[in-house]
């Protein structure tokens, strides 16, 4: 179990701040996905706002991990999402630009 008593209020406050900011960027990503006019612009919103939001959430959750290993794991997770997000966005953008290989 996670020991709540060892957390100082300062860390709690920082955590609240980071997670709130992260949630805001997630919100911005979704709003962008719904409002932006074309596919490539939506990809902008997806890669940037979303990855930043996830990074902030990861940092905010970091004080609550039960073990150092989990902390490293979370940071690895974020790096992986960054790389995967950027690569995926590139692939989708490329496919949309070339528009080949699809029967319809």
């Amino acid at each position: 179990m996670i020991d709540l008593t060892t957390l100082t209020p300062l860390i709690n406050g920082l955590s609240v701040l980071l997670i709130s900011a992260g949630a805001f960027f997630f919100l911005a990503g979704t709003v962008g996905l719904l409002r932006l006019p074309d596919l490539h612009s939506r990809l902008h919103a997806l890669t940037k706002a979303d990855n930043l939001g996830l990074g902030l959430v990861v940092l905010g959750v970091l004080p609550r991990v039960p073990d150092v290993l989990y902390g490293i794991k979370l940071l690895l997770l974020w790096i992986m999402v960054l790389v995967a997000g950027a690569t995926g966005a590139h692939l989708i953008a490329k496919r949309a630009l070339r528009g080949e290989g699809e029967p319809r």
């Binding site: 179990m1 996670i2 709540l4 957390l7 709690n12 955590s15 609240v16 997670i19 709130s20 992260g22 949630a23 997630f26 919100l27 990503g29 979704t30 709003v31 996905l33 719904l34 596919l39 939506r42 990809l43 997806l46 979303d50 990855n51 939001g53 996830l54 959430v57 990861v58 959750v61 609550r64 991990v65 039960p66 073990d67 989990y70 794991k73 979370l74 690895l76 997770l77 992986m80 999402v81 995967a84 997000g85 690569t87 995926g88 966005a89 692939l91 989708i92 490329k94 496919r95 949309a96 080949e100 290989g101 699809e102 029967p103 319809r104």
Partner: protein, 88 residues
């Protein structure tokens, strides 16, 4: 503090529901795929917050799997076949 985590998870779930609209309406397959990717990363965020709030560290591992496998779908989606494009 736990309440705050759940509240943030609730907010992320709302953004996820918003992303679902984009999956449903499209208009292009690339739009849907992109939105599904966004769902993946907000899902990761929700899992992290739930893991912290409910005290289930194994959920961090589920989040890791989410992150790993989101790429597979995008790769499968953008993959081109050599013989493709012959129809219609």
């Amino acid at each position: 503090m736990d309440e705050f985590y759940i509240g943030a998870a609730l907010l992320l779930l709302l953004t996820m529901a918003g992303g679902l609209v984009r999956v449903a309406v499209g208009p292009s397959p690339a739009d849907r795929m992109m939105a599904a990717q966004l769902l993946g990363s907000s899902g990761i965020g929700i899992l992290l917050l739930l893991a912290a709030a409910l005290g289930i560290p194994a959920l961090f591992d589920v989040a890791l799997i989410f992150a790993l496998l989101a790429v597979i779908n995008v790769a499968a989606f953008t993959r081109r076949r050599v013989d493709e494009g012959s129809g219609a």
